[in-house]
């Protein structure tokens, strides 16, 4: 019943893409998606937060209230005041400046993890639903085996030869989250693969790559978005955890995890210094998840009526 109609709907959609008007249609769709994203309360808040985050990161590259090399040994663990908005840490450095500079590092990690996870994850899905049953079987077993490697072990493996570095954090997070994505997205890809239109396309001799790109990818995009947003959000948490353990971002580079770990030893004496990075990490994680959620709902014709009508 529903199957055929979805199929028809999809072929119509893909037909439009293939036509010369595809660019116009795409632009229109983008407009609708953006509009519905910004009219949702969660999408709006999350978008504003991300804009702010990007702005702060860019500003921090050229200016912070205090230089990162500033320390004042006579004014450590000070409470928030007019000269230090969020107070100072145990070395007498300005907490706000370090958090500001940390936001750029964090943004880099989040973007890199999101892009790598999406690319590797989707490629993995493509392999795991390939037409060749041998490749399919081996890839599924491999992913299932690799998924058992904890993120901390990968981070340690990266940190052992090269020392703690941002690249290590990105590799560790992307590795683990790509596998997660493959695992979660594969069922919806399989549903798409088994649909009559893919059978038909294969029957017509269209290349596997093109089939994946035009027929399967649009079906799995919503769950990919959710997974990528989840991965980006969790990457922030992973960075803080790994940095705390000394295998994440090296201590001379600002990051939220570093700010948190410098305060962690004295959290009972000076809770406020641990509070700020804690709050910013929590808010960022929530916002990225909200953004992913809102984006998914806006991009999926099932939930966005306007997009369906276009």
């Amino acid at each position: 019943m529903t199957k055929n109609e979805t199929t028809k709907n999809d072929t119509v959609r893909n037909g439009a893409v293939r036509n010369g008007t595809s660019k116009k249609v795409m632009n229109k769709r983008m407009g609708i998606i953006l509009k519905s994203l910004l009219t949702r309360w969660d999408g709006l808040i999350a978008s504003i937060f991300c804009m702010l985050w990007i702005a702060v990161s860019i500003i921090s590259l050229v200016w912070t209230p205090y230089a990162l090399t500033f320390t004042d040994g006579y004014n450590v663990w000070s409470a928030p005041s007019s000269s230090h908005i969020l107070g100072t840490d145990g070395a007498g450095a300005d907490v706000f400046s370090w958090l500001m500079a940390g936001s750029a590092t964090e943004l880099l990690i989040v973007c890199a993890v999101a892009v790598i996870t999406a690319v590797c994850g989707v490629s993995g899905v493509a392999v795991s639903v390939s037409r060749n049953s041998g490749v399919r079987g081996i890839s599924v077993v491999t992913f299932d085996a690799l998924i058992s490697i904890p993120i901390i072990v990968i981070a340690l493996l990266c940190a052992a030869p090269w020392g703690a570095s941002i690249v290590g954090v990105i590799i560790a997070c992307s590795f683990a989250y790509s596998l997660n994505l493959m695992r979660v997205v594969r069922p919806s890809a399989i549903t798409a693969v088994r649909s009559p239109y893919v059978t038909f396309a294969r029957y017509k001799g269209i290349s596997e790559f093109k089939i994946f790109w035009t027929h399967i990818l649009p079906q799995i995009i919503p769950s990919v978005i959710i997974n990528v947003s989840f991965a980006s959000a969790t990457a922030i948490l992973a960075e803080s955890g790994l940095t705390y353990l000394g295998v994440g971002v090296p201590s001379h580079i600002a990051s939220w995890g570093r700010s948190l770990s410098t305060a962690a030893n004295f959290v009972t004496i000076h809770p406020s210094v641990a509070l700020w990075p804690g709050v910013i990490i929590t808010v960022a994680v929530i916002m990225i998840n909200l953004l992913g959620d809102a984006l998914r709902e806006s991009i999926d014709p099932l939930t966005n009526a306007e997009l369906r009508r276009s």
Binding site: K8, T71, G73, G90, R194, S223, S251, N265
Partner: protein
């Protein structure tokens, strides 16, 4: 078809975690019906909201209840502590108890003066006093030392301790080059003319001998006892070891048949190791431990107004040595080393640590022979430092890159402050905080460093500066000759003067910056008395500890 259908709705559910798509209206291409379905779901959802709220509140309340129950239970259990026993919380645990084969001051701290005794002992201001040897004579040429041992000395296993045990202990140590053997320089022989006299002969005078014999070099072991030295200990001290769990705790029980005046005042003393400072503080406040040494001055702020506890800073010989690589690299240049010493604001670093540590301008701390206040040699003077750097061609715009490597057991804040202070004079410092083992291999063994930071806590360790093979790579013939003269000096006064002279030269050469003399903070329960405050990280006699 139905299977596929189920899969599709499953994937839709997976994709949309916030929406419960039920199978009846899962995928329908008609707009109106879809909107209708979504509306229905919205209604369903709102009716569900209340129950979600209730279950949320219920789960939060239950979590809080469990936490409260755990906290109460923990405090009730933790508050019980038997009388006549004291638990002492320390930080660094020895890996085993084999004091003759294992280095590290954690062993001296735990065993010497408690389980093992040396020929001589120390006072709280780090001078030598009588121990197993009640008195001693030194020949005029300072080559022969005659020790007169106390009578009726016994080991904890009941064996008598006599001169033959002393001779055997020193001889095996020297022959097998065990720990402490380097501390008897110019050793010739040791003999026992009778059961209570020991004669030790040297080939050259050695002014540090007596102090060394109050430590590892002078430990007297039972030559007839057979035991596993890694987990057991048989000595003549006021306590015997009743239980030992490597890395966790050691239980010491008072000996009833102790021979001397240092009879233990408390029946059972448990030494427990807390690598995490916060865990140590928690143990103190919950009553699990009655003494904590060391406690960081930042953490001590939590209890400084708590009338149950006393917090004191002791005098110590811990030197935070910011050592430069004097053998290779840019720091072979004396002007740069001097500039760094002028740039470092030691007072600010001390202030940031709570202000309890003492400024130290040279290699010898106040409790060691040859101490002299050298803090005025390189006062903080940024403009002088800048001009020295400018002469070498480095400015803030064109900085010199240096790396600082130190173990992550020392605070990150020190590194951060040094980065900040050196940035002002045109040095870009990169800090590598590494595992202690990594520091040992890269810095200490392979000399692959620019600047290193270590807490050298040993006492009487000026020999480091007279040894060009040491990792500092500091080679100054004048210092070496002054040091060997000092070691052969005829009186303590002469030795102290020579050492002070050598220390002044070392400080002026700027082969390192002595950031501060770390004064260990100790905190204890008001009911506990007699715990040593000075030097307790290397020398911790517990016989006087008493609990009210």
């Amino acid at each position: 078809m139905t299977k596929k259908h189920r899969q599709q709705s499953l994937s839709a559910q997976l994709a949309n975690l916030r929406m419960d798509v039920d199978s009846s209206g899962a995928v329908d291409s008609s707009d109106a019906s879809l909107d209708e379905t979504l509306n229905q779901q919205r209604i369903k959802r709102s009716s569900r909201v209340r129950s979600i709220w209730w279950s949320g509140i219920a789960s939060i309340v239950s979590v809080i209840l469990v936490l409260v129950a755990l906290t109460l239970g923990y405090n009730v259990l933790g508050a019980s502590s038997a009388s006549g026993s004291v638990t002492i919380g320390l930080q660094l645990a020895p890996t085993n108890l084999d004091i003759r084969n294992t280095s590290g001051t954690a062993l001296d701290q735990l065993l010497i003066g408690n389980i093992y005794e040396s020929l001589l002992t120390r006072t709280t201001d780090n001078t030598v006093s009588a121990g197993i040897a009640q008195s001693w004579d030194v020949s005029d040429d300072r080559l022969t030392y005659t020790f007169h041992l106390a009578e009726n000395v016994t080991f904890s296993n009941g064996d008598a301790l006599d001169a033959h045990d002393v001779v055997w202990s020193i001889n095996t140590m020297m022959k097998e080059e065990l720990q402490g053997s380097t501390q008897i320089e110019g050793f010739e022989s040791v003999e026992a003319p009778d059961a209570h006299t020991v004669v030790l002969k040297l080939v050259a005078p050695y002014s540090q001998l007596l102090w060394n014999l109050s430590g590892r070099a002078g430990i007297v072991l039972d030559k007839d006892a057979r035991y596993d030295a890694k987990t057991q200990a048989v000595g003549s001290g006021p306590y015997e070891l009743s239980k030992y769990e490597p890395g966790f705790y050691a239980t010491l029980s008072a000996r009833d048949n102790y021979w001397g005046t240092h009879k233990a005042q408390t029946k059972t003393v448990t030494v427990r190791y807390y690598p995490e400072p916060q865990a140590a503080l928690n143990a103190l406040t919950s009553g699990d431990a009655q003494v904590i040494a060391p406690i960081s001055s930042t953490l001590s702020k939590a209890i400084e107004h708590d009338s149950r506890f006393i917090v004191r800073a002791g005098e110590d010989t811990d030197k935070y040595v910011l050592a430069f690589n004097n053998a290779s690299g840019p720091l072979t240049n004396k002007s740069i080393r001097q500039a760094i010493r002028y740039a470092i604001d030691n007072e600010a670093i001390i202030a940031s640590r709570g202000g309890t540590d003492a400024a130290l301008g040279g290699p010898i701390p106040s409790l060691d022979p040859g101490y002299e206040d050298l803090t005025h040699v390189y006062p903080t003077d940024i403009s002088k430092a800048r001009s020295l750097m400018r002469e070498q061609g480095y400015t803030q715009e064109k900085p010199l890159s240096l790396s600082l490597t130190y173990a992550n057991t020392y605070p990150a804040e020190i590194g951060q402050q040094l980065v900040s202070q050196l940035a002002k004079i045109g040095i870009r410092l990169t800090v590598h905080r590494v595992e202690f083992a990594t520091w040992l291999s890269t810095v200490y063994k392979n000399r692959d460093f620019d600047i290193s930071l270590v807490d050298h806590n040993e006492s009487h360790d000026f020999f480091q500066w007279a040894n060009p093979q040491y990792y500092y790579g500091y080679d100054n013939k004048r210092v070496q000759s002054l040091y060997s003269q000092a070691m052969q000096a005829s009186t303590d006064k002469q030795r102290d003067e020579l050492l002070a002279q050598a220390a002044r030269i070392v400080s002026e050469d700027a082969p390192a910056d002595w950031l501060f003399n770390y004064r260990v903070m100790t905190t204890w329960d008001r009911n506990v008395t007699g715990f040593p405050v000075n030097l307790n990280q290397t020398w911790m006699p517990l016989w006087e500890v008493r609990v009210r």
